[in-house]
């Protein structure tokens, strides 16, 4: 073959590849400049529970972000694009499918503020599935621990089960939730209030990916009277937002679902999903860049508690939390290993790229969950998040006067390491006794330290020496940012010896052991 023939072949090859890349349809967000001439009746739009939440939290029923999109704008877009995927009242935007030529025409419309290409991919934050056909002894122990680790038995003993709290779950499907015995107590009382499949625009969600079923079980599942999650008395809104085979629309669905949850009176949103490297860079995990993160913050402004898994990238290249776990107002949940009680290797780490502390708290990252028939075990911060969502529902039931952000702070304060924190555990595992008894004990010094010749030595008090506990310490710079953090096993009373010459003036060393936290500032 001579160069002439080769040129023809090369042109065919490139035409094929270029046309598939350039001339194919893409998905876009089209943001409008205003909501001119629209009418809005909150009593028609919102569920009663959503109105109750707004009234009790002092939030206006006439927030312009809830107003519908301008119909004329919508019609113009519909006439120019190929199809509409979804729309967002909160962001005054439509998600559409369009070709490059179509999008060029749309950009020229006077009411169009901005056009953004949608290209994302959601990752379920479950790590791996490990389903067994029966609950072995180890699983019974694990099941007991996943509730006890949060002091959940105190909620149970006081009859607190999240009653009256409405929880929205965003996930990839909820197979067998309509017949699985783990959810019988919920179905019996008709506490699945609404369902919606945002990927197919229909009500049925009881199929597809098992992930949502497992997540829901960690919020309010129960089998033979034994709880898998704490909010067995809560109400549920189930939204299917994810499709494995359709990677480009999940973020759009997440946005639609959060508005749907708000409209239908959700108090808590659990999202065990994270968006990471497919669209973003680590330095964009600042809680402001991604649309879902901004939506999570807006949801919080409207009175909902957004609980989001930190992600499972702790042991891979990404390493840090994804979005919307980076949102300032999202309660981001890391995972701990039930066997060791500290960070489970895959749980994504903080801080955010703008150096805010994340995750906020943590829970078991290896749990007992519902499967299609019966129960099994699974791993991931996907399950840490619903465990805390269930916990939050119980805490909120105890004190309905709390706003969502007050509850957020109270959950942080209830955690077993508080006020100590690090970027793997946040403030630790939330504790029910904080809400029941309003106390965490003991608070008296459990260790002492002294400094001699620029050496700091820490010794555990004999009374509190317990080899089953862990000793935590971190080095905090003068800006409050952690430089290093450690977890030590407690195998001797002389637990720590540090050469202070390694650290800078103004650095603070924080120590935590057995509910007692103290600090030493280097001068």
């Amino acid at each position: 073959m001579r160069p002439k023939k080769f040129s023809i072949l090369l042109i065919i090859f490139l035409s094929f590849t270029i046309s598939s890349s350039v001339f194919s349809q893409n998905n876009y967000w089209v943001f409008f400049k205003d909501k001119k001439d629209v009418t809005f009746n909150p009593y028609q739009y919102f569920d009663n529970k959503a109105i109750e939440r707004r009234v009790s939290l002092g939030i206006s029923l006439y927030d312009s972000t809830d107003f519908p999109l301008n119909n004329n704008y919508k019609k113009s877009i519909v006439s120019l694009c190929d199809s509409v995927i979804n729309e967002s009242r909160w962001f005054n935007a439509m998600a559409i499918k369009a070709t490059n030529n179509q999008i060029a025409s749309i950009k020229n419309l006077s009411f169009v503020e901005e056009v953004q290409l949608i290209n994302t991919y959601a990752i379920y934050t479950s790590y791996q599935n490990d389903f067994d056909t029966s609950v072995l002894t180890t699983k019974r122990d694990l099941l007991k621990q996943q509730i006890e680790a949060m002091g959940g038995n105190l909620f149970i003993a006081n009859g607190i089960d999240g009653k009256g709290i409405r929880i929205a779950i965003f996930d990839g499907g909820f197979p067998t939730v309509d017949k699985n015995p783990v959810f019988e107590h919920i179905r019996k009382d008709n506490r699945i209030i609404k369902t919606w499949d945002f990927t197919k625009n229909k009500e049925f969600v009881y199929g597809y990916n098992l992930h949502g079923t497992m997540v829901m079980s960690c919020i309010g599942g129960m089998i033979n009277g034994v709880k898998l999650g704490l909010a067995t008395g809560a109400e549920f809104l189930l939204a299917r937002t994810e499709v494995n085979t359709e990677p480009y629309s999940e973020e759009v669905n997440w946005l639609a679902a959060v508005e749907w949850a708000d409209k239908n009176g959700a108090d808590i949103i659990n999202s065990s999903l994270g968006y990471t490297y497919h669209r973003y860079f680590n330095n964009q995990m600042d809680g402001k860049t991604s649309l879902v993160s901004r939506a999570a913050n807006l949801a919080a402004r409207k009175g909902m508690l957004v609980v989001n898994a930190a992600g499972n990238d702790g042991d891979n290249n990404w390493k840090y939390i994804g979005t919307p776990a980076d949102a300032d107002s999202a309660l981001s949940i890391g995972g701990i290993d039930p066997k060791t009680n500290y960070h489970i290797s895959f749980s994504s780490l903080g801080p955010t790229s703008d150096k805010r502390m994340k995750p906020n708290v943590c829970a078991f990252g290896s749990v007992v969950v519902a499967k299609k028939e019966g129960i099994g075990t699974s791993q991931g911060t996907s399950f840490s998040s619903p465990l805390v969502a269930g916990f939050a529902a119980c805490a909120w039931q105890l004190d309905r006067t709390l706003t969502n952000m007050q509850l957020f702070k109270e959950i942080e304060k209830s955690a077993n390491l508080y006020p100590y924190f690090d970027y793997a555990h946040g403030y630790g595992v939330p504790q029910a006794n904080y809400f029941i008894n309003k106390s965490t004990s003991p608070k008296e010094p459990t260790f002492t330290f002294n400094v001699e010749n620029n050496e700091l030595k820490v010794a555990i008090d004999s009374t509190f020496f317990d080899e089953s506990l862990l000793f935590y310490y971190n080095i905090e710079d003068s800006n409050g940012m952690l430089e290093e953090y450690y977890v030590l096993s407690v195998n001797q009373k002389d637990i720590l010896q540090l050469d202070l010459s390694k650290y800078s003036k103004g650095d603070v060393i924080n120590f935590h052991y057995n509910y007692y936290t103290t600090s030493y500032k280097i001068n």
Partner: protein
């Protein structure tokens, strides 16, 4: 001597008494620096493997090949320097093993006119290539969709001629090396289309594989194949 042992014992005891069993630790400053190395960051390098086929027939029947079994294997290292979100440049260094199964026909003249049961020419090359990369679409820290256009140069460090014949029930295999008729250096152009780790490639050899003095018809110039990037 005794005192040295006593001293060592005391030091060891001190070490034990202050040994810290660190279960978990993170150093934030060094871990939180803005990355410059990654699939869609300034620098990225990764290895890859590839498999391709001769995608056309030889110059004429005297060098005809069997198209299916004439193929090549690549193992390489790719380096990319991102210039903008849509454009990058880079180079590859690779080991390339190509083999051409020669058709045994009456017209055969390359490298000789003898008819054998099976016969192939194998070229083991070290290859260096440079490319321009054009990316499409907004993306995060992934390679995404791209088209590469570039050029390559090969150094054939070993060319072998394999012959296999079955005579009276016995199989005879012959390998001939130190061949004189091939050009040790050749070059060509390349094009690739990829989505993340999956790549379709086309290589077109512009130079001749055989020395002109031997008058052998050229073996196929075009190779099509797939590559898989060994990265996330």
């Amino acid at each position: 001597m005794k005192s040295i042992f006593t001293l060592l014992f005391i030091i060891a005891l001190m070490q034990i008494s202050f040994s810290q069993d660190v279960l978990f630790n993170e150093t934030v400053n060094s871990d939180s620096v803005i990355e410059t190395k990654g699939p869609n960051l300034k620098h990225y390098k990764h290895t890859y493997i590839g498999f391709g086929f001769a995608a056309m027939q030889s110059e004429n029947k005297s060098s005809n090949i069997e198209l299916g079994p004439s193929s090549n294997f690549i193992f390489g290292f790719r380096n990319k320097l991102k210039i903008s979100n849509f454009y990058a440049v880079g180079y590859d260094v690779s080991y390339n093993l190509s083999w051409y199964r020669l058709s045994q026909t009456k017209d055969k003249l390359t490298p000789d006119a003898f008819q054998n049961d099976k016969e192939r020419l194998t070229f083991q090359n070290l290859e260096f290539s440079v490319y321009n990369r054009f990316n499409f679409g907004k993306r995060g820290n992934i390679i995404g969709k791209f088209i590469d256009l570039g050029a390559y140069a090969d150094w054939t460090f070993l060319c072998s001629h394999f012959i296999k014949n079955k005579i009276e029930g016995n199989v005879y295999k012959t390998k001939i090396t130190h061949l004189k008729y091939y050009e040790p250096f050749n070059y060509g152009v390349l094009a690739r289309f990829g989505i993340n780790r999956y790549v379709i490639y086309a290589n077109y050899r512009l130079s001749d594989l055989f020395k002109s003095s031997y008058n052998y018809a050229e073996l196929p110039r075009l190779t099509l194949g797939v590559q898989i990037g060994l990265h996330k």
